[in-house]
Subunit: 192 residues, 2 copies
């Protein structure tokens, strides 16, 4: 998605430690006009795949999941990072390591919201080491639902999570893939 | 909003301790068709008020804020519960107590995303004791922006946060207000 690359170049800030800050449009402040285009693009990529549900993880995956859910007219489920008093009953649970925050959270999804009849699209804002997507895929597998594929707004190709998941046979679509990121500039991977 | 009351009666589950579980459509699984109606209704309520930005708090406020942001064609900012490595620079900060989780979090918003030129609508999924809205109002005041008002999907009227804020002079719109909630049933407040 050309516009994602343009937005990263225009608005993104490269911070030490391989952190790309895109808070001005993606994950602190949300540019809703662009977010609608993101949802429409994900819907276009997975058109005809019979997706019945979108699964993401709180918090920064939620805007993308909601936008894609609007475009695809399907329900959205988001995994929570802690089982709290308003998550009752049986849950699917899986550990997800956050490299940004340096912690591992047990993320949960209430069982009744994913069933073997579902065809699930997993979405998130960033795909880096692939820990979040791997956890969400594990939850889909626990539920017996069919995993159609995954979509990320921005993939950090140099952190290899996306290519590892592709090698495992999953369909992974990223709207922009960054292969190199330094103070001097950002190099995107060519995509069809 | 009649449909919010109907959804609460149809899908909601009353749990001990004054907890209303609406995870099947509002805050774990999101019914995107209904969520679009929620955003449209908030846009209708605040039509003509010149809102330039919507402010909410992660995570369960985000779907409502995004839907309202789509309808009102304004950007959305969400306060984060912890300052993390992808929140850099100066932030507005305020303590917010979560009665659900029994903790107080210092929530933050990067300063550049709220300015004195903004006319801000604060939204959240639940309004109970009013701690989250009070914190978000404090952040709006710190920024010098103008607070247009607040909108909540569901207000627990019996926990008094909404009426306290109204008495302080704020415009508070809730799509459904629950005045009483027991195992036997839910009583909604009449609204114009």
């Amino acid at each position: 998605m050309k516009k994602m690359e343009e937005m990263i170049l225009k608005e993104g800030k490269v911070l030490p430690g391989g952190v790309l800050k895109v808070g001005s449009f993606l994950n602190q402040q949300v540019d809703t006009k662009f977010m609608k285009e993101i949802g429409d693009e994900i819907a276009r990529l997975y058109d005809g795949e019979g997706v019945t549900k979108i699964l993401t993880i709180e918090s920064s995956g939620i805007p993308i999941a909601i936008s894609a859910g609007f475009a695809m007219k399907v329900k959205v489920v988001y995994a929570k990072k802690n089982k709290s008093s308003n998550v009752s009953g049986d849950v699917y649970s899986t550990p997800v390591k956050s490299f940004t925050h340096g912690v591992t959270n047990n993320v949960v999804v209430t069982k009744e919201y994913l069933t073997p009849d579902d065809r699930v699209l997993v979405v998130d804002d960033f795909l880096a080491h692939g820990s979040a997507l791997t956890g969400l895929i594990d939850i889909v597998n626990q539920s017996g639902a069919y995993l159609v594929g995954c979509a990320a707004a921005i993939e950090k190709g140099f952190q290899m999570g996306g290519d590892r998941l592709r090698a495992e046979g999953y369909r992974i679509e990223s709207l922009a893939i960054i292969d190199e990121m330094t103070d001097d500039g950002i190099t995107f991977r060519e995509q069809k």
